[in-house]
Symmetry: C2
Subunit: 212 residues, 2 copies
């Protein structure tokens, strides 16, 4: 259930090597990396069950739809198993919900078959905007809605996971990300409806689980 | 000398309208915006002397060189007068200086004639890496080196401006950005060698200048 994330701008090749090795050792679902590392991870993880989940339009979501589509296509070509894309947050907040849905749909269609997770950045949205973002992601054919980038004002909250679960039900997966650093937080997120966790503390969380 | 910046993911159309109007009223050089707003600003600023400076690979610099080139080309097509691009910080920190230079050169060549400013994100670099970043930007044909995205650990410091000035001399412009919110800070940056300022507080800075 865990996407093992290293999304810092400052991450070096050594950091990415460590991320990949931990993902293999702990049996994480994916490594979640910035696009410049996709090809490298693809070589590094070849022959292992660990997938690669690059981010698209990350972390601001404020590049053009055309570039998001290009970035998504390239990531799949470079070995991505899944994609996490950031919505155009400013557009959603400006009331341009149809634009947001069309943009997500363009990415989903460009990489048909590859699950797309849609990051709402809930810390920038009110509840009405969160619901609209979820519906846009669902209608656009995305596989998951995801709370946060880890770069926003807030990370995942139980209230947001519950709201997202009420909105999309079991039609979509729900990924909690941002600030998940302990087993108890991870467990609470799952109880609230999360079906995937994005964290850089996956190793610690599984260690806590073993110790419990 | 001022690039008037609104680079928040959460910025709405109302925020961008305000940015453009202030740029016109105060006579700022450029508005500095995320790429999704370039076309809108282009219409909004048509017939005014204010330029548009979208950011590329912003703020992490960790997308692929190919996407940075595409993003730069599209921004110029959409009306950009200048571009601020973020280097691949992780690559520089990994010792891949040639890769960093080639990437910058690819962008410079793709938009020939449009001044490219290269954001180092000095808060993630040691002094040796800052110098190598400056030299890579100079050798790649960039017009400016710039300290920070405003999203990093630190903003512009006088020490960094002085180091950049010692490294590139008068061959290039130097843009100080990140945390410049008062006239005294702005003035000190210029004294240290900055030839352009990136700030969201340009209006306040000029008000302070008038009051002085």
């Amino acid at each position: 259930m865990i996407d093992h994330a290293q999304l810092k701008a400052s991450a070096t090749q050594v950091d990415i090597d460590q991320l990949c090795q931990q993902a293999i050792d702990f049996g994480f679902r994916n490594v979640c990396v910035n696009p410049a590392w996709t090809t490298y991870c693809s070589k590094r993880l070849d022959g292992t069950p660990v997938g690669i989940c690059p981010v698209v339009g990350f972390p601001l979501g404020a590049n053009t739809a055309r570039i998001k589509v290009e970035e998504a296509r390239e990531a799949v070509k470079n070995g991505a198993a899944e994609l996490d894309i950031v919505i155009n947050i400013g557009a959603l907040r400006s009331g341009f919900t149809e634009f947001v849905e069309r943009e997500i749909a363009a990415v989903v269609q460009a990489v048909r078959g590859v699950p797309v997770k849609v990051i709402l950045e809930t810390g920038d949205l009110d509840d009405d905007q969160k619901v609209k973002g979820c519906i846009a992601a669902a209608d656009a054919g995305a596989a998951f809605v995801k709370t946060s980038t880890g770069y926003g004002r807030t990370g995942a909250s139980l209230e947001d996971i519950a709201l997202m679960h009420r909105t999309v039900g079991d039609r979509m997966g729900i990924k909690a990300a941002g600030g998940i650093r302990s087993f108890s937080t991870a467990y609470a997120m799952i109880e609230a409806g999360a079906t995937r966790l994005g964290t850089s503390a996956g190793a610690r969380i599984l260690d806590e689980l073993d110790a419990a």
